[in-house]
């Protein structure tokens, strides 16, 4: 019926009747198959789906009711017509209960049969049509469920917490990140939650409800776990009804802990910078004020000394500003590097010559040795200069009078290794780790009076690491330090 002719199965033990019906219906354009016995009928009727079956109620082997039952079990949409000469009320009821469509009493005229067949065809068409609609609806529902599920999965997976609360303060929706970002163990849809969420969020919800402005959103930063354990930004927006009235809020809760931590580090750094800048200024102003103050008696020989000290402190300040600028350039990588081939041995020797005056002042002996005569690096020469100037001037500054500085270059697998050793004051164990931090300066009786910005080594470390290199220090307090710089060999 779906594709072409309507297929009809006739199960009838009486040969003449069987063949007669066949001929009649074939003339009407139906496709007919015949079965003589119940077994045969069940076999055919349960393997192919016929549009219509005409079943004799009394068959030699089976009851027609049984054949009906078996066929309907497999193909419930096959329209079955029961034919019988012994119509009884009971069998009619039983057949109808099992899904027979109609009843045709024997003997019947061709017109009677065709009338029944026509009605059965209509029934079959209706059944197929409604089946088709049902299937379409199911498919659409499935699609809808899939779509809903997909959206749900997406919302559940995002890192931002999502919480929807209705006007009664009950949860309408939430995702997993919402629990995480509010540090709540569990929530239930429909539960009243205003006592479970931070006061600041409740405040925003109340504000939005009061204002009833669909375009208004409120944002607040909230500390969920103290000491920057968890910091979130909660953005609340009202959800209007179709009539524009307030029906609830949707709250997006974003974890901004990392951002807050960076903010704190930044502000700590700024206050450290301010402190470092202000300290020498305070010293210079201190001296200038006492020189200018008539009530302060300064011994004549001291005045020149104070001016000299002021000049030294101001030079230190200039050095600090330069270091800060270098640090910020390294930080933002704003400065364009000029890569070129640098000869490392030559660079270090030039640096030693540059620092000759200070070396001679302290009567320091410099020993230079290298396993390799020529080392080529591809780097920015001003940066490399900075590295070795800082390291070598430290080796001079923190050395003793008539001390020694050893510079040794070797090659270790994929690194050029430059070791700079001194016979200076050395480092205490606890100072080693913090040595490369900004503004860290080892403080003890031996470092007092030695000028420094506390930025030199952190600049060195940043530069060395930006070339995928490493810097470390070995030291013994009171004896001296060895700074070991490794720079990768690039072919």
């Amino acid at each position: 019926m779906t594709n072409g002719k309507t297929k009809i199965l006739i199960v009838e033990d009486e040969k003449g009747l069987r063949e007669g019906i066949k001929r009649l219906l074939e003339l009407e354009g139906f496709q007919i198959e015949l079965a003589e016995r119940g077994t045969e009928g069940i076999q055919l009727g349960t393997t192919n789906e016929y549009d219509i079956c005409i079943l004799d109620l009394r068959l030699p082997d089976y009851d027609g009711i049984e054949v009906l039952r078996q066929i309907k079990l497999i193909f419930p949409n096959t329209v079955c017509i029961m034919a019988t000469a012994f119509a009884s009320y009971d069998t009619a009821i039983e057949a109808t209960r099992l899904g027979a469509f109609s009843y045709i009493p024997k003997p019947f005229t061709p017109e009677e049969l065709l009338y029944q067949i026509d009605k059965a065809c209509q029934q079959r068409r209706l059944i197929l049509e409604s089946e088709k609609l049902k299937k379409e609806r199911e498919e659409r529902l499935l699609e809808l469920a899939y779509e809903k599920g997909r959206l749900n999965t997406i919302i559940k997976s995002i890192a931002d917490g999502l919480l929807v609360v209705n006007s009664k303060g009950e949860i309408v929706y939430f995702n997993n990140s919402c629990l995480k970002n509010l540090n709540i163990n569990s929530l239930k849809i429909g539960e009243y939650i205003l006592h479970k969420i931070p006061n600041q969020i409740v405040g925003m919800i109340n504000q939005l409800e009061k204002d009833n402005d669909p375009n208004q959103s409120l944002i607040n930063q909230i500390e969920i776990i103290n000491n920057n354990g968890l910091y979130v930004e909660a953005a609340c927006s009202p959800i209007p009804f179709q009539d524009g009235k307030y029906s609830g809020v949707v709250i997006v809760i974003r974890d901004i802990t990392q951002y807050k931590k960076i903010e704190i580090i930044k502000s700590q750094f700024i206050s450290m910078v301010a402190h470092e800048l202000k300290t020498p200024i305070a010293a210079v102003i201190g001296y200038l004020k006492i020189i200018l103050d008539e009530n302060v008696n300064i011994p004549a020989e001291k005045e020149a000394e104070y001016l000299e000290r002021s000049a030294i402190r101001l030079s230190g300040l200039v050095e600090l500003v330069n270091d800060l600028l270098d640090l910020s350039r390294l930080e933002v990588k704003e400065k364009k590097r000029e890569f070129k081939e640098i000869e490392l041995v030559k660079l270090i020797k030039t640096t030693i010559e540059f620092l000759d005056l200070e070396i001679k002042k302290k009567n320091i002996q410099v020993e230079f040795s290298s396993e390799i005569s020529e080392i080529k690096l591809n780097a920015d020469s001003s940066e490399m200069n900075r590295v070795f100037t800082n390291i070598l001037s430290n080796a001079i500054k923190y050395n003793r009078e008539k001390g020694k500085i050893g510079i040794n270059i070797s090659i270790d697998e994929n690194y050029f290794v430059v070791k700079v050793s001194d016979t200076g004051i050395g480092l205490k164990e606890e100072d080693k780790e913090r040595l490369f931090q900004e503004f860290f300066r080892a403080k003890n009786e031996k470092t007092r009076g030695i000028q420094g910005t506390g930025l030199g080594l952190s600049i060195v470390k940043r530069i060395v690491e930006s070339y995928a290199g490493k810097i470390e220090v070995e030291s013994e307090f009171g004896k001296g330090s060895v700074f070991i710089i490794r720079l990768p060999v690039v072919n």
């Binding site: 010293a283 102003i285 004020k289 009530n295 302060v296």
Partner: protein
């Protein structure tokens, strides 16, 4: 002649402060770190302590002030600060910072003398 102990890790600040105070007739002793300062206070029992915050020392100025108060030493303490304005922290005498008054660096001779006299005359 009242004795004042100055504790500050900046040698120039110590030098300038010493000179201001000596010019007004005070006896001055100084130390460059909190530990040496603590020893000096124990030994000399001064009338006033001028103490720098010394934030970069492991045991800073706050720590020393707390330690003295814990030991029931109620010597007046005048604290030098340099960054209170920049970091937005309002210094005030409390349990955390048990000092009597503050002087913001850079110091001016008149202001320092005024605060010192006020604390000594209490």
């Amino acid at each position: 002649m009242p004795l004042i102990v100055i504790i500050d890790d900046d040698v120039d600040i110590v030098e300038a402060s010493t000179l201001i105070l000596q010019s007004r007739g005070f006896s001055v002793l100084s130390a460059n770190n909190p530990n040496a300062g603590y020893q000096l206070i124990k030994e000399k029992n001064p009338d006033l302590v001028i103490l720098d915050v010394m934030m970069d020392e492991p045991d800073d100025g706050f720590f020393l002030a707390q330690k003295l108060r814990r030991e029931k030493n109620n010597v007046p303490i005048l604290m030098y600060t340099s960054v209170s304005k920049t970091i937005g922290f309002e210094f005030g005498a409390n349990d955390m910072v048990p000092v009597n008054d503050f002087v913001e660096k850079p110091i001016s001779p008149d202001q320092l003398i005024e605060k010192v006299n006020l604390l000594l005359n209490k």
